[in-house]
């Protein structure tokens, strides 16, 4: 009972902060379950992937209905992310925990650098109003957004990489997909965020199957965490507009760096 409550509370925290920071929550769930509760990394990754599906599908339902996510672009990029996630999920069962910890530490450092760059930027998104007439739900043709096929081969390679990271490390991979759709393909940021979120559900599911069938997802652990994450994400979506995201990002940056150090120590020392 006590452990269930602690797991659920951790899920609420991950879902809440993930939602406020625009992350799937996986980057918080994996270290919580490994460093906080002592579960093996493969168990943490499996549970995290299931949680990421929950947060992604919940938000994607809203984004697709509101016309913010580009379903056509999302589907196209999913052909890359799914291959990456399936191979990542299968590969994780054969890789040493130390190597996985090292890769996770590298992902945390990359995330920290991305967040630091966003924090140092003077304004959040100055170009949004210029692109307000872009229609991500328009079919191919004269009204189709110009970014949809821009640099597609490069975007597909990046999608494979993002899917692989997701399947191996239990994160949604939004930290790779958002820059890919926004900076490489040229989509406005809010469309890139919504489309990335749409892709994450299918990607995380593709990776999760390997963990589910292998028995890495213990229902006694996953149940309370999934419920907590779902509740936290709902609260985070409501609180979002009232919270100062810059202060929150600065706080999160410290947490990310701390986890990166802990995961590096785990990779070097070979903790279970």
């Amino acid at each position: 009972m006590g452990l269930d409550l602690l797991l659920a509370a951790s899920g609420v925290a991950a879902g809440l902060f993930g939602s406020l920071l625009g992350l799937g929550g996986g980057i918080l769930i994996v270290p919580m379950l490994t460093l906080g509760f002592g579960y093996p990394l493969t168990t943490a990754v499996g549970v995290s992937l299931v949680c990421v599906i929950a947060t992604s599908t919940g938000a994607a339902a809203h984004n697709v209905r509101a016309g913010r996510a580009d379903v056509r672009l999302g589907l196209t990029l999913e052909s890359g992310t799914v291959v990456g996630a399936v191979t990542g999920g299968l590969l994780a069962g054969y890789l040493a925990q130390r190597l996985l910890a090292g890769l996770f530490a590298a992902l945390m450092v990359y995330t920290a650098l991305n967040m630091a760059r966003a924090l140092l930027r003077p304004t959040a998104d100055a170009g949004e109003s210029v692109e307000a007439d872009v229609q991500p739900s328009a079919p191919d043709g004269p009204d189709a957004p110009s970014y949809r096929r821009h640099r597609m081969p490069l975007a597909l390679v990046g999608s494979f990489f993002a899917g692989n990271v997701s399947g191996l490390l239990g994160v949604g991979g939004g930290v790779i997909k958002v820059p890919l759709v926004h900076l490489v393909m040229g989509a406005p940021l809010h469309i890139a965020v919504a489309t990335s979120n749409f892709i994450i559900g299918v990607t995380a599911a593709a990776g999760a199957y390997a963990y589910l069938f292998r028995g890495d997802v213990d229902p006694a652990v996953a149940g309370p965490v999934v419920l907590g994450v779902a509740a936290g994400a709902v609260v985070g979506a409501r609180l979002g507009p009232r919270i100062n995201a810059r202060w929150l990002s600065a706080l999160f940056l410290i947490v990310v760096l701390y986890v990166a150090v802990q995961m590096t120590l785990r990779a070097v020392a070979g903790a279970p």
């Binding site: 599908t57 589907l75 399936v86 599911a205 390997a210």
Partner: protein
């Protein structure tokens, strides 16, 4: 930003919302029953199929997790049908490819699931 009121958006968002809600409700039922019955009710071993076949309250949690993992696949099925009805052959094909890749993932996961793990 205009609302996307077409069939594609309604179908895809509907499946995602219903799938997530049903899966989360199933997980909640399983967790509640496990807490009420205590101890051994939450213990299952093996892969997903063995967890479900154990027929314990924790098996209901596993069914909920499976429903959650299948929701994106259901979304792909309705997207495929919606694109086919609209005559958008390019995206009908892409949705079929992604769905097939997901199916390959499930088969590969069940084939490679024995004797491996963390």
């Amino acid at each position: 930003m205009k609302r996307a009121d077409d069939e594609l958006a309604r179908w895809v968002s509907g499946v995602l919302a219903i799938g997530t809600a049903v899966a989360i409700a199933t997980v909640a039922l399983g967790v509640a029953l496990t807490l009420l019955l205590g101890g051994a009710a939450g213990q299952t071993a093996g892969g997903l199929v063995a967890q479900i076949m154990a027929l314990k309250p924790a098996s209901i949690v596993s069914v909920g997790l499976l429903l959650l993992a299948l929701t994106p696949a259901a979304e792909l099925v309705v997207a495929l049908i919606a694109f086919a009805r609209r005559g958008e052959h390019r995206y009908t094909l892409i949705a079929s490819v992604v769905l097939s890749l997901l199916a390959v993932g499930v088969v590969a996961a069940s084939l490679f699931s024995h004797g491996v793990g963390g």
